[in-house]
C-alpha cells in the first residue's frame, strides 16, 4: 500500500485562511485568495462609500481596499501595525480586504462548514456561505462576491 502523501489534500477537504476583523475571524477558501500583502500606504478617497478604506498600489495597479467591518456597520478595521490586505478577484477586478491579522493556512473538511444561522455577529445570513467550527475558534465564511457587490450595497 502506497504511503499517503501527508501534504496531499483529500477530496472532501479544502484549504482556507482566516482573517481577523474587529475581533471576529472570517474564512476564505485558499483558492479565492490571490495574495496577501502587508498593508501599504492607503490613499483615502473622499466621497467614496464608507466601507472603502481607500486605494493602494498593487504591482502598478490601483485597487480598492474594502473594510468588511464598515461594510456591515459592525466597527472599523484597524489598518495599523501588523495589518494585512487579502487580495481577491471580483468580477475581473482585484480587490483588497483589510485585515487586522491573517492566520495560517488551515485544512478543513467540507462537512465541517455548516449553514449559517440567520444572523452571525451582525451579518445577515445571505452574505455568508457557512460557519466552520474549529478546535478553539469559529471561522465565518463570507460570500465574497455578494459582499463586494455594488448593487447589494446600494440596495441596503
Amino acid at each position: 500500500m502506497a504511503r499517503k502523501d501527508k501534504n496531499a489534500v483529500q477530496v472532501d477537504e479544502f484549504q482556507a485562511i482566516g482573517f481577523q476583523v474587529g475581533g471576529e475571524e472570517y474564512g476564505l477558501p485558499l483558492s479565492e485568495v490571490q495574495e496577501i500583502i502587508t498593508t501599504p500606504h492607503v490613499t483615502r478617497v473622499p466621497k467614496a462609500p464608507p466601507y472603502i478604506a481607500g486605494v493602494i498600489n498593487l504591482h502598478g495597479n490601483v485597487i480598492p481596499v474594502f473594510d468588511v467591518a464598515r461594510r456591515f456597520e459592525i466597527g472599523q478595521t484597524n489598518l495599523e501595525g501588523g495589518s494585512r490586505v487579502v487580495v481577491v478577484e471580483n468580477n475581473g477586478e482585484m480587490v483588497g480586504l483589510a485585515a487586522e491579522a491573517v492566520s495560517n493556512v488551515t485544512r478543513l473538511s467540507i462537512s465541517s462548514v455548516k449553514p449559517p444561522p440567520p444572523l452571525v455577529s451582525g451579518i445577515a445570513a445571505e452574505y455568508l456561505t457557512g460557519v466552520a467550527r474549529l478546535p478553539n475558534r469559529f471561522l465565518i465564511f463570507l460570500n465574497i462576491g455578494l459582499v463586494l457587490s455594488n448593487d447589494a450595497a446600494k440596495q441596503e
Binding site: P46, A48, V55, N57
Partner: protein
C-alpha cells in the same frame, strides 16, 4: 473556438466596417464605377471568406449585397434613400450577427429578416428569381478576379507557371459529388495552386445542384498531365484549357496601386489585444518607478562613495535607463493610436439617421480624419461623441429652414492634445443636452468648450493625445497628494493671509483687478483638516467655460507627466475624482476632476 474561426470573425468585422465606409462614399457618388467595383470586390471577398469558414447565411447575404450594387452598376436604377437604407440595414444585420458569435451565441433572426427584405426588393425591381438562390449558383462563367488574385497570378507566372481553366462535369447519379470535388482539390493541390473555384471551396455542397465545377489552376504541368490527375472515368466530362484573363490590372492607375498596398500592408501588421498593450504600459510604469529609485540611490551613493568612477558609472547607467524607458513608453503609446476616420464614419452614419428621421438633410463633413487618438480614448468616448453629433445635427435641423445643412468636424493635433471642432449654423444646443457628454469628456482628462462666432456655433472637444499619460500639477491638501490635469489650470499663485475676504459666505480674492471666487479643497472634498490655522496657502486657478475658480491648497509640488490608472467600478459614483496615479514613492495619488469641482462650487453659489 479555434484560432481560424477567431481570425475569420475579426477579419469579417473589419471587412464589414470597410463596406460601411464604402457605402457612405457610394451614397455620395453612386455613379462612381471605381467605388462600385471596390464595394463589390469587398462584398465578394466577404462572401468567399464566410463560405469557407462555414457561415453560409452570411455568405448568402454578402452575395445579395454584391448583387444590389451590381444593379447599380448595370445602370438599371437610380438609387433612392430606400435603396441605401436597405444596404445599411444589411450591413448592420451582418455586424450584429457577427458580434455574439465570438461568445459562441448565434442569432439568425435579423439576418433572415433582412434576407426577406432583400428578396422583396429584388422582386419589386424585376430581378430574375434564379439569381436570388444560393450564392454558389452563379451563372457567370468567368472568374471574378480581385487584385489579390491578380497579384498571385503575377507571382506564379513569374515563377514560370501557367494558368489553366478546368471544367468538370459530374455524372448525375448517386455518387457523392462533394466528396469527389474534395478529392480533386486535394489531388490538384499536390501539383499546383487552385486560385479560384466555382462554386467556391466553402460551398462545395452546392455542386449537387449544378453538377459542375470550374477551377482556375496554376502549375508547371502541361494540359495532358493535368488531365491525368483527374479521375476521368468517374466524371462526366473534363475540359482543360489555357486561361487568358481579359482584365489586366491597370498599372498606371494609382488608386489600384494604393489598394494593393493596403492589402499587403495588412500582412505587415500584427493583431494585438488591447490588454497586452495595457500590460506593457503597466510594466513600463513599474520600470519608470524603479528607474527613479535607482536615480535617487545613485545620487546618495555619489555623496557616500569614495569611488567617484563607480558613482559616475551608476549615474550614467541610470540616465541611459531613463532614455530607454522613455522611448519604450512612447513606442507603446504609438501602438495604441488609431485615426479618427473611424469615428467620423460613425458620426456620418448618425447624422444620416437624424436626416432620415427629421426629413431634413444634414451632412457631416469631416476634416483631418488621419489625426490619431489613443484607442482607449476612442473606446471610451466614441459613443458620447456620436451622441453629440446627434444632438448637434438635431439642433441644426431645428434651426434651419433650408433643406440641406452641414455639420463640419475638424480634427487636428495641437501640442499634447487632439482638438475636435464641430461647426454648424445657428445657436449652440442647450447645456442639458451636453451635460452627460461633457462629464465623460472631462473624466478622460479633456475639455468641452462651447462658443459662437458669426452666427455659427463652435464646439471644441479637447482630448489628451493619450489617455494613458497626462501632464498634471501635483498639490498637497489635508496631508494627501492630489493631481490636477494641467489642461484645466490657467495659473497658480501664493495666497497671502490678508488677501482674501468673505462675501456672502463665499471666499473671494482679487487677481489683477478681477474678483476670483475661491474654494477650499478640503471643504470641496469633505476632508477633515488637521488644524484650521491659516498657514500660507496656494491657489490653483481652474477654468471651464466662463468664470475661473481658485482652488485653495496647502502646497504646490510641481508639474509631472503621470500615467493614469483607472479606479475601478467601485468608485463609479465618486465625485470630483477622475482617476489615480502612482507616485515615485509608490503611493497612490488621486486625480481631480476640476470640471465637477467647479460645477459644484457654482451650484453652491447659485
Amino acid at each position: 473556438m479555434d484560432q481560424l474561426t477567431r481570425i475569420f470573425l475579426q477579419e469579417a468585422a473589419d471587412q464589414i466596417e470597410s463596406l460601411e465606409s464604402l457605402l457612405l462614399d457610394l451614397e455620395e457618388s453612386h455613379a462612381s464605377v471605381e467605388l462600385q467595383e471596390h464595394f463589390m470586390r469587398a462584398a465578394h471577398s466577404l462572401k468567399g471568406a464566410s463560405g469557407t469558414a462555414g457561415y453560409s447565411l452570411l455568405a448568402d447575404l454578402a452575395h445579395e449585397v454584391e448583387n444590389l450594387v451590381q444593379t447599380l452598376q448595370e445602370g438599371r436604377l437610380t438609387p433612392g434613400p430606400d435603396y441605401f437604407d436597405l444596404m445599411y440595414r444589411s450591413l448592420e444585420a451582418m455586424r450584429r450577427y457577427l458580434a455574439p458569435l465570438a461568445q459562441g451565441r448565434e442569432d439568425v433572426t435579423e439576418l433572415e429578416s433582412v434576407q426577406r427584405e432583400l428578396k422583396e426588393w429584388f422582386e419589386g425591381n424585376g430581378r430574375q428569381e434564379s439569381e436570388l438562390s444560393a450564392a454558389s449558383a452563379q451563372t457567370q462563367d468567368d472568374f471574378n478576379l480581385g487584385e489579390y488574385d491578380l497579384l498571385r497570378i503575377g507571382v506564379l507566372e513569374g515563377q514560370g507557371k501557367a494558368l489553366y481553366r478546368i471544367d468538370i462535369g459530374f455524372k448525375g447519379d448517386t455518387v457523392d459529388h462533394e466528396q469527389q470535388a474534395i478529392s480533386i482539390f486535394k489531388e490538384l493541390r499536390r501539383s499546383g495552386d487552385i486560385l479560384q473555384s466555382i462554386p467556391s471551396e466553402g460551398l462545395l455542397a452546392d455542386i449537387a445542384e449544378e453538377n459542375r465545377l470550374v477551377l482556375l489552376f496554376s502549375c508547371d504541368l502541361g494540359l495532358e498531365e493535368i488531365g491525368r490527375l483527374l479521375p476521368q472515368d468517374n466524371l462526366l466530362s473534363v475540359a482543360v484549357s489555357e486561361y487568358r484573363r481579359d482584365r489586366t490590372l491597370p498599372v498606371a492607375d494609382n488608386s489600384a496601386g494604393e489598394n494593393f498596398i493596403k492589402t499587403f500592408a495588412s500582412e505587415k501588421t500584427v493583431r494585438l489585444e488591447m490588454e497586452v498593450l495595457d500590460e506593457l504600459l503597466r510594466l513600463v510604469g513599474e520600470l519608470m518607478l524603479n528607474r527613479v529609485r535607482l536615480a535617487r540611490i545613485s545620487g546618495e551613493y555619489q555623496s557616500r562613495l569614495a569611488d567617484r568612477e563607480l558613482a559616475a558609472e551608476i549615474e550614467e547607467t541610470a540616465e541611459k535607463l531613463e532614455h530607454l524607458t522613455a522611448d519604450l513608453q512612447s513606442g507603446i503609446m504609438r501602438a495604441r493610436m488609431v485615426p479618427v476616420a473611424r469615428l467620423f464614419r460613425m458620426m456620418k452614419r448618425r447624422a444620416r439617421q437624424v436626416s432620415r428621421r427629421l426629413e431634413t438633410r444634414v451632412r457631416l463633413i469631416g476634416h483631418g480624419e488621419w489625426t490619431e487618438i489613443d484607442k482607449k480614448l476612442f473606446d471610451l468616448l466614441s459613443e458620447n461623441l456620436v451622441a453629440m453629433t446627434e444632438v448637434l445635427a438635431e439642433t441644426i435641423c431645428s434651426q434651419s429652414s433650408a433643406g440641406d445643412s452641414e455639420l463640419s468636424v475638424f480634427a487636428a493635433r495641437k501640442g499634447n492634445n487632439v482638438i475636435l471642432k464641430f461647426v454648424g449654423a445657428g445657436s449652440p444646443p442647450g447645456e442639458d443636452g451636453l451635460e452627460q457628454i461633457r462629464s465623460s469628456i472631462v473624466d478622460c482628462g479633456g475639455r468641452l468648450i462651447v462658443g459662437e462666432e458669426n452666427e455659427n456655433f463652435q464646439l471644441s472637444v479637447s482630448l489628451p493625445i493619450t489617455l494613458a499619460i497626462v501632464p498634471v500639477m501635483m498639490v498637497e491638501a489635508a496631508e494627501e497628494i492630489y493631481a490636477f490635469p494641467l489642461e484645466a489650470i490657467t495659473e497658480t499663485f501664493r495666497l497671502e493671509k490678508d488677501k482674501s475676504s468673505t462675501v456672502e459666505g463665499k471666499e473671494i480674492t482679487e487677481v489683477r483687478g478681477n474678483a476670483l471666487s475661491l474654494l477650499d479643497m478640503g471643504d470641496a472634498l469633505d476632508i477633515a483638516q488637521r488644524n484650521e490655522e491659516f498657514k500660507q496657502k496656494f491657489v490653483v486657478v481652474v477654468e471651464s467655460g466662463s468664470e475661473p475658480i481658485g482652488i485653495i491648497v496647502d502646497r504646490l509640488i510641481g508639474k509631472f507627466d503621470v500615467v493614469i490608472k483607472p479606479l475601478g467600478s467601485h468608485f463609479n459614483g465618486v465625485r470630483h475624482i477622475s482617476g489615480s496615479t502612482i507616485l515615485g514613492d509608490g503611493k497612490v495619488a488621486l486625480i481631480i476632476n476640476s470640471e465637477t469641482l467647479i460645477a459644484e462650487a457654482r451650484g453652491a453659489a447659485a
